[in-house]
Structure formats: structure tokens, C-alpha cells
Amino acid sequence: MAGRAWFWKDEGKAMKATVTVMLKQGVLDPQGEAVKSALGTLGFGGIQGVRQGKVIELDLADGTTEADVTAMCEKLLANTVIESYRVEIGA
């Protein structure tokens, strides 16, 4: 991982973390339900369910680890009472 990070740094590109925050399964998502209903109104019948979440992109400074991003999720980016999150690290 360190080697790849060095490669990206060499290219002048920051590492990116993409955090996807979704309501936990079992928590009713009223916005997703409304989107599903609107899709049905438009004639799109092939939908069984819609869940709406959010995507947060972070440009990481050198040395910021996935563990750091996880700590950010736990402390601020997600409310773990109702939300789950997924972290992807990439260029």
C-alpha cells in the first residue's frame, strides 16, 4: 500500500477516500420510499426498493490512513445509531 501511495504522490495526485453513508437496514428511509413512489408514478415498474444515502469524498493528506478515515466516520461523518458506512481508498 505504501508503494502505491508513493506512486500517486509522485504523480502529484492526492489519495482519495470515498465514504458512503447509508441508513442501516431495518431503519425506515422515508426519502427512499418517496423516490420509489415517484419512479412508479413515472411508469418505472421494475423497482422493489430504494434506499437513499450520501457520498462524501475526502482528499487525504500524506500519511492519513484508512484507520484515520474510519475514526472520522465514527466521530462525525456517520451517526452509527442509525447509519452504516463504507470506506474506499483510491486515487
Binding site: P30, Q31, A34, L76, N79, V81
Partner: protein, 222 residues
């Protein structure tokens, strides 16, 4: 008796809350969110309604990380009183001073109207001026008041008599009609309705006044 009322960027019920405390006999300090400490001798902290930080990320999430909230958590940890109303309730849930979370209203609409409530417990400094089971009318005005807590958490709240108020006719989908909850030590209350908006006959109601007068009674005799 001293109350502190917090002011965040986007707070809009801070002055109403200050007036409600003053009418009950409190002296009130307004405290800016960037302050790192509360003034000396504060008995109760009011976290007001509004749209702190524009409700960015989640309602109350950014305010919960502000410097003053560390001081409020310390105050609560020492057994100090805290009252969070509407956005203030959201902030207290985000800081984990209260359990659960507040989600988008089930009907997706901002709800602004007079709302019937049931006082579920008179066993707190906030509700001692009411009778358990009493029906009161208090305004609500929120988009994210849909209280969510897991089954275990709900069982704790019910078993420990920590549900302070419930809605009569659920306006937002809240679990078990919950409008307000108490902390384990009963000294932190968060609620979505606005008692500070019904403390004077000119408001069109006075059902909120007993909250502030019973707080004053408790703190005078303490």
C-alpha cells in the same frame, strides 16, 4: 439561579428560550458556540432550536462537535441540568448525552403547528410542575423529529420512566410517539416541541410555563 443559553450559527430560538428562563426568575448568559467554557455558577444549560450550521451533514451533527459542547458534556457529567429543544434535542442526541437519533419526518414534510402532548412522567425537575398523564398543547416546528431508537433502548427508556412527553396523534413517525426523553440521571431533557413558545398568554398558550417554573423551584431548593 443561572441559566446559559447556547448560540450557534443558525440558532433562532435562543432569545425566546432566554426570555422563558428569565420569566421564571433565572439570570441568563448567552454563550457563543466557540467558547470553551461555561460561565461560573451555571445551573442549567439551554440548547435552543434553530438550524445550527444549516443542518449540514445531519441536524445537530456539526454543533455537537463545537467547543462549547465539550463544556456542556462536562457540566452534564457533574450532574448539571441541560435542556435541549428541537435542534437542541438533535444536538444532545448527536453528542450522545441522550440516546437515539432524530430522522427525517416520516411524511417528509416540515410540520409547523400546535401539537397535543401527554406528560408521561412528573418525576423530573423539568416535569414536576405537571401531572403524569396531563394533556398539554405545545407548538412543534421541525423537519427531522422522527425519533428512532432500537428495541433495547426503548425498553430501557420505558422501564426507567425516561419518556418525558409523547405526542397525541403522531406528527412525524417517532417510535412509540416519543416527543421527549430524559437522561439516566433525569437531569438532561431533550424534546422536539417548543415549550418556550407557550410561556405567556400573548403567545396563545401557557402550557410550557410549568417547565421553567418547576425547574426554578427545584434549583431554588437544591
Amino acid at each position: 439561579m443561572k441559566a446559559a443559553v447556547l448560540v450557534f450559527p443558525g440558532s433562532n430560538c435562543d432569545r425566546d428560550l432566554a426570555v422563558a428562563f428569565q420569566q421564571a426568575g433565572f439570570s441568563v448568559d448567552m454563550v457563543w458556540h466557540k467558547d470553551t467554557g461555561l460561565p461560573d455558577g451555571i445551573d442549567i444549560v439551554g440548547v435552543p432550536g434553530g438550524f445550527s450550521y444549516g443542518d449540514y451533514l445531519r441536524c445537530g451533527a456539526i454543533a455537537a462537535q463545537s467547543p462549547i459542547m465539550r463544556a456542556v458534556a462536562d457540566h452534564a457529567g457533574r450532574g448539571g441540568y441541560v435542556l435541549g429543544i428541537c435542534n437542541g434535542f438533535q444536538v444532545l442526541c448527536e453528542t450522545r448525552l441522550l440516546p437515539g437519533a432524530l430522522m427525517r419526518n416520516a411524511g417528509l414534510k416540515f410540520v409547523c403547528r400546535m401539537q397535543g402532548l401527554t406528560v408521561k412522567t412528573a418525576d423530573s425537575a423539568f416535569t414536576a410542575g405537571y401531572a403524569a398523564g396531563q394533556a398539554i398543547d405545545v407548538p412543534i416546528a421541525h423537519h427531522d423529529g422522527n425519533y428512532v431508537i432500537d428495541a433495547d433502548g426503548l425498553a430501557h427508556l420505558e422501564g426507567e420512566d425516561r419518556i418525558a412527553f409523547t405526542y397525541r396523534g403522531n406528527p412525524n413517525g417517532a417510535v412509540a410517539d416519543i416527543a421527549g426523553v430524559l437522561s439516566a440521571n433525569r437531569r438532561v431533557l431533550g424534546l422536539m416541541p417548543h415549550p418556550e413558545r407557550v410561556v405567556d398568554a400573548s403567545h396563545g398558550g401557557t402550557d410550557g410555563a410549568a417547565m421553567f417554573t418547576s425547574l426554578a423551584d427545584t434549583l431554588v431548593t437544591a
